[in-house]
Symmetry: C2
Subunit: 267 residues, 2 copies
């Protein structure tokens, strides 16, 4: 195995580059993002995706998965770099950083890259602002065997460290598409697809609804919910019981409750 | 209405006191916590709980709900204080603070204060570390008509600003109890109660399980899950399908999927 580069200073240009990837503006310009943790990076590799740069902490514990990750990165022509754990902490912005992180190229996020027939369920989120909610929806999508997550209008960046972290690796297994509403609804109606939203407007019980694949389950912004126009364009508006004082659930929770219900009907 | 106190400086002792409530150590010592937003404070009032101190931003928009909140606080012998929005931002630690916040007395969080027959569903979380997940579980509990949330072992503080915010007011409608595992299982077995956990160990489909009220739905720590011993002590171990690469859901999502399933059986 070739000699690894060792980085010892905070002012190293690579460290600056890595840190800049925590800023959305730089991520977009570089079309790169950061993911941390051996498990996430192993999930990525098992999905056929290896980082361009693999960053490891000096003094980390040896691990066979890390060895095979390193070999995969080198085989793909990537870079392997070592740095002190405290520098890695600055890079990932976490007090207790994982001992390994990777730089990945952003994926294609166009609707046209999606094969809607590839999965019975797709998740759709509109103006979702919380990166934790976004990552959680990716994670739920993975669990229900969804094809991916379609982000409408101005959502949090799915390539932020926080969203990638909350996805627990699902960023590498779920397809991602970013689109405006008009573009999405045009694409959806040009083929098969049932659009479903949780709504307070219709009395159709979410457990009795006639879900049909490919089923697109849509949740709205954390504080505003879905625009009325978007709900009106849905094929189904289903009601999730709300027995308490509140009239809504956390967006990623609502998405998960719908997704597991649809899964039970469509499996 | 009596003259309100106006606070103009960051160094005012009350401002210092309010800011200290963002720190768990001070919250515990003072047995007080902060909640922000007209909607949350109105939810609290409708549940019969008014803040000891009501803090309002100068220059806020008038609102009938705010007027009645102010009257309720004064009628209860509480304090009403005005301060600049930028000081309020320092108090709540939010860039865009809501125009109103309140200081509340912590509730009784002993198991013995719970009436287990008061609701068909109770949520239980073990070593839940993320205040957002904790607040989200309270919010889900409210939605499914649960009695409350029981926090086992070392959980995040339910009275942190972040947890209160994520609860969307459910901190005022759900009962809360804090206990160690031994204390909890002793209390549970001294009366009626079915203890249920999502588990990978048993093949019982979560949709086919014989849920019975009062049903205690337990989720584990975000990264470790439940200790084996806790799972073994459950009456039911149910399986939620995992069709992807991952073998787990976000803790608050798992709790919600279980809670909505149990609700459908127990309603």
């Amino acid at each position: 195995m070739p000699e690894r580069r060792h980085i010892t200073g905070f002012s190293n240009p690579l460290v600056k580059f890595l840190r800049s990837l925590r800023d959305k503006k730089y991520r977009k310009r570089e079309r790169r993002f950061l993911a941390e943790g051996l498990r996430l990076l192993t999930d990525a590799r098992e999905s056929g995706i290896v980082p361009e740069i693999l960053v490891m902490a000096t003094g980390r514990e040896a691990h066979p998965l890390l060895d095979s990750l390193e070999r995969a990165v080198i085989a793909a022509g990537g870079d392997v770099v070592e740095m002190d754990l405290e520098i890695l902490a600055k890079v990932t912005g976490k007090d207790n950083p994982q001992a390994v992180a990777g730089v990945f190229t952003e994926f294609d996020t166009s609707l046209s890259a999606l094969d809607r027939q590839a999965a019975p369920i797709w998740l759709v989120a509109q103006a979702l602002r919380d990166p934790g909610n976004l990552g959680t929806m990716l994670r739920t999508g993975d669990a229900v065997g969804a094809g991916g997550l379609i982000l409408l209008d101005d959502c949090a960046d799915p390539f932020s460290v926080e969203a990638v972290r909350a996805s627990m690796g699902a960023i590498f297994t779920q397809k991602l598409a970013l689109a405006r509403w008009d573009e999405f609804i045009g694409w959806l109606r040009a083929g098969d697809g049932q659009l479903v939203a949780a709504s307070l407007r219709d009395p159709l019980d979410y457990r009795q609804a006639p879900y049909a694949a490919p089923c697109f389950l849509m949740v709205g912004n954390e504080s505003q919910g879905l625009p009325e126009e978007y709900e009106a364009a849905c094929d189904l508006r289903v009601t999730i019981p709300m027995l308490g004082r509140a009239d809504s659930l956390n967006a990623s929770v609502a998405g998960a409750v719908l997704a597991y219900e649809a899964l039970a009907h469509l499996r």
